[in-house]
Every structure is written in structure tokens, then in C-alpha cells.
Amino acid sequence: MRWLLPRPLLSATVFLLWAVITNAASLALLLLGGLLAIAVPRLTLPFWPDPPRLVRPWRAVRLFAVFAADIVTANWRVARQVVGPLYRLSPALIEVPLDLRDPFLATLLGSIVSLTPGTVAIDVDRQRWVLLVHALDAPDPQALVREIKDRYELPLKEIFAC
């Protein structure tokens, strides 16, 4: 099993993506997708860094729900800010000190931060483990740092053993 599927998550992603692109039209296409899901991770194995271990997958569902809700509600807030008067905005570059120590998780956190409106992750300093974030409107940078850490970083650390 480990030989056949060295990266189960990657295999699942490849298979799902294939099924979605081909509209899951026929059994033959699904079988081909299954073959791809076995072949692609095996062939690209040398290129992948060691992923962190997934320990609490069910927490990922909750994180995803929070994330999806945040995208919609906070987009509305940013929409109002963009149309409203600009002098009220206080943009800022903020450094968020990270507790996690894994490049993959840092990337994931950066992507989440970039997609939730009001903040864009610019860079991760892997010497000091600091996430550089640009906020569109942050009158209180410390509150934003706390929010990012509690809302996204903590669940990520719980989902993956880290």
C-alpha cells in the first residue's frame, strides 16, 4: 500500500481533478484517472518535499468552513472600503511571528491569509519564521496578528502534527 500510494492526498487530488475535468463521463475515463492517480505521484516522488503528517483530518472540515465563510463576509467589507472614502484606510505592513516550522504549512497559511480579504501575505522569512503581511486597513496591527494566529494558524497546527 505504501509502495503503491506514497502520497495518498496527492493521489486523491489527481483523481478528483481528473474526474472533474472529464465530467466523470464514463467508467473508462474514471479507470484512466485511477491509473494517473497511481502513476503521477510515483513518477514525481523525487520532487516532493516530505509533507507534514496529517493527524486530525476532521478539523480540516471546520477550518475550511471558517475559511469559506470568511472569504464571503470579509470580501463584502473590502468591497465597501474600496468604494468608500479612501482617506479612512490605514494600510500597513505587518510582521506575524509564526509558531509553525514547516515550509508547506507556512505556504498554506500564506495562501489562506492572501485569500481572506484585507490581507495579502507577501513573504515568509524562514530564518526567523515571520510572515510578512500587507493589510488594506489595519488600525490595530496587534489585533490582526492575534486574529491570524488564532483563526488560521492554530487549527493548521492541530490538523498537521507540528
Binding site: 472533474v20 472569504i71 473590502v78 468591497a79 492572501s114 495579502v120 513573504d123
Partner: protein, 124 residues
């Protein structure tokens, strides 16, 4: 197609178009590059996402060809690439603003607010 699905598709299309427009308003209106980055990476992605969902519902409820899922592939792809694009653009912008010439020695450059920024490609 039933009235319920039709109105769902219509609402999703209108919401999507509205957010696409808001993203572009942000792009045109906000004062400097890093703030401009916020509009297109998020509002536009969400807008196109809503539109793709509308398309998936529309073609799934059509008469002949069964369900239509392939819009979800574009949706997935857009949501993965938007943060990468934003990250690279912000890095490039900060790199240009510092005015320092690129050197391969890995000397840290200074950010806009006097912060220390890592060398653009020396993150590993």
C-alpha cells in the same frame, strides 16, 4: 430548467459580475501598488468563482448532457494561483521599490518602512 435554479444562476451571475467590477474598481482607484493588489487577488477571484458556479449549475440542469463539473477545475485552479500571483507581484514590487540592485550574495534589502526584507530568492 425550473424557476428556482434559473433565479439561483441569475443571482450568482449578478453577484459574480459585481465582485469582478469591484476588484477592478479597487485596481483603478486605490493609491499605491500594495493596496491595489488587494482588489484583483480577492474580489475578482471570488467574482469569477461565483460565475463559474453559475455556469456549473446552468449546464448541470440542462436537458441532455448530465452533470457538468469541469468548471470546478478552473475554480480550484484560480483559488490556488491567486495567492501565488499576489505573493510574486508583491515581492517584485518591494524589490523594485528598494532600488537596490539584485546581488547574489544574499545581502538583506530594506523594505519601504525600513524593515529588513529577505533576499527575494534566498528564502530556502
Amino acid at each position: 430548467m425550473s424557476t428556482a435554479t434559473e433565479s439561483a444562476v441569475a443571482v450568482l451571475i449578478l453577484l459574480g459580475a459585481l465582485f469582478v467590477l469591484l476588484g477592478s474598481i479597487g485596481l483603478a482607484r486605490l493609491p499605491d501598488f500594495l493596496t491595489r493588489l488587494h482588489g484583483p487577488t480577492k474580489a475578482t477571484t471570488l467574482g469569477v468563482g461565483a460565475m463559474l458556479l453559475a455556469s456549473a449549475i446552468f449546464f448541470s440542469s440542462g436537458t441532455n448532457e448530465g452533470i457538468s463539473l469541469h468548471e470546478l477545475a478552473i475554480l480550484f485552479f484560480l483559488f490556488i494561483t491567486a495567492p501565488v500571483t499576489a505573493h510574486l507581484l508583491a515581492k517584485a514590487a518591494l524589490h523594485r521599490q528598494t532600488g537596490t540592485q539584485q546581488s547574489d550574495s544574499g545581502t538583506p534589502v530594506r523594505g519601504r518602512d525600513g524593515e529588513k526584507l529577505p533576499h527575494p530568492d534566498k528564502t530556502s
